[in-house]
Structure formats: structure tokens, C-alpha cells
Symmetry: C2
Amino acid sequence: MGNNQDIEVLIALMAKLPGLGPRSARRAVLQLIKRRDILLAPLADALFNVAQSARECTNCGNIGTADICEICTNPKRAIAQICVVEDVADLWAMERSGVFKGRYHVLGGSLSALDGIGPDELRIPHLVNRTKGENITEVILALNATVDGQTTAHYIADQLEDQDISVTSLAQGVPIGGELDYLDDGTISAALNARKAV
Amino acid sequence: MGNNQDIEVLIALMAKLPGLGPRSARRAVLQLIKRRDILLAPLADALFNVAQSARECTNCGNIGTADICEICTNPKRAIAQICVVEDVADLWAMERSGVFKGRYHVLGGSLSALDGIGPDELRIPHLVNRTKGENITEVILALNATVDGQTTAHYIADQLEDQDISVTSLAQGVPIGGELDYLDDGTISAALNARKAV
């Protein structure tokens, strides 16, 4: 290659990032080296900072820089609602919508018999403890509309049955901007079944 | 966002890499944090190393970790041939093919009247000096088959005319594995004009 060990190591690591392959990693590294002062050095610093500071919130499982994350410590957020998501990425997606003002609980995945993931591999027992300890009135299940996600939703609903909590889930239907012609049959039938008066 | 400053800074920087946008940068950063020990920390180290060590070869313009790159110092490489490329990425692409055993000269771009890039913005004067100083017999122009690339090729050929050097360029034609049906007219007519006996 005529380029050095250090650079090859960097390319190999970059190629492990989701969304980059060996070729685009090579392109990204060249770009980094060309823009050393405004991109390479700041990126190295930012990575070090995050490596030092990032941690999981011990309460909800969100990723932040404190033991208890900003959402859990924010006094403006409703304490009575917990939104259950599979992954931190889902939590961030919910936050981008900006509609939910309660707190979260990140499961860390979904139940999967195939992958041998049971309730104890996820943070489901912890969720049940939270609903008992804090004064929760509603648990919103914002899980993926996949088989595993829905299995997990049913399991959690079962676990919370004996508590005086309303358990809800996200509505299913036609996505905003969606065209019927491009939707799958399952979505259309779900939307039809959940139809509402105009 | 409920996630911290450090993490947001990292996401913003990652989103500047070619091939990553804001959404895929977010996904990459989550992946990095989840795989802190095997990905995040090594990547931070690798970036620091490259930020420290990467430099342009003062002879050919390749990027390496010494003032004169490995290719220029390699005694096994033919000293009489110089392959002229627009960019370091092109040099790396040539090296991947493994066929060329001479040395390189990276121009750093191509002539472009629109962008105001003239011969002095590129390393063309330096190339002319090299051909005079070293015992060069052939200059291979491996420039992109674009208008700017071909303009640059003609200009360089002109500059080297008075020296006793053969100036060649990469053949144009059907790429290996290419299907005629998917090729543009220009490529087909170039391949037809340069046809050879079987």
C-alpha cells in the first residue's frame, strides 16, 4: 500500500463502523488526514472524551455522562409515565419527536427464543421494580412492530397486570406521508381495524 | 436529546465524514459506545497516532508517516517510471491493483478554469523538476477520464514535450466484467477506436 501501519490500523477500525465498509473507510481516513486540524484532531479529542465520560444511566439505561441521566434527573419531566423502548437508539428517536415528556426505560433488546434472550437478559425485572417503587400510572410500550417486539410487549403487560397501572402501546397505522400503494398488507389491515371517526 | 454535550459533539464530527450523515453518525456513535473497549478506545488511539504521524511525502505527495514515503524510498521500485495521479486515493487504487512498480506523483487535483485551479496550484512544476532531475524515461498519466482530467493530461504532455521522455496514459475501453448494454456511448466508441487484434 505504501501507506503506513498507523493509517492501515485506522482504516481497519473505521471499516467496523456501521455504514462504512473498507472502501468508504479508506475515503473517510483520507478526508480526515487532509482536514487534520478541523476534523482529525477534534474527532480524536471527542472520542477520548466520550470514552472517558459515557455511561449507562443506572435508572433507565439511557446513555449519558452521569450515573443518572439528564432525563431521569430533569424535574420538568412527568414522573408518572414510563416509556419502554428496546434500545437507546429508540429512546433518541422518541426524543427527536419531542412529544413524550415522561421518563424512559431501555430494555436492551427484545425477548427472543431463537437468540436465547429471556426476561433476565433484558431489564424487565428492573422495570417491574421501578413501577412498584416510583408512583407510576402509565407504562407506554414503544417497542418495534416486529414479532419479537410484540412478544416482549405482551410479556411486560403480563408482568404488570397485578399493579394498578395502565399499560399502553404506540398506535399502529399508516405512517405520516405514507402512500397506501406502497404499504404492506399488515399495516393496511391494522390501520383499517383501528380506524376512527373523522 | 437527553444525551450529553460530549456525545453530541462526537456525533456532529462523525456526520462530517464522507459516507455518513447525521442519522448514520448517531448510529455509529451508539455502536462505538456499546463496544467501548474493542472499538471506541482503539479508534481514539488510532486517530491520535495518525494525527501525530501522518504527513505528505515531499517528493511525490503520497501520504505516509515519513518525510519521504515508503514508495519513494523503496529500492525495489523502478526509478525510471513516474505515474501521475490526481489524488492520494488514486495512488492507493493503483497500488491495490499491484501492477505498477515505479513511483508516483500526486498532483493534488486537476486543472479547472471554473474553480480557478491553474498549474501552480497543482504540483505540476514540481513534476517537471522531477523529470529533469531524476533519470525518468516514462511518465504515465493515470488521470480521471473526465474533461478536467484530460485537460490536465494534455497540459502535462505539453510541458514535458521538450524532454526526452515518453508520455503515456491509461488505456480507455470496456472495464473488466463490464456489460456492453450498461456502458455509455463514449466508452463504447473509445473501446471501438482502440480495438486490437485478438
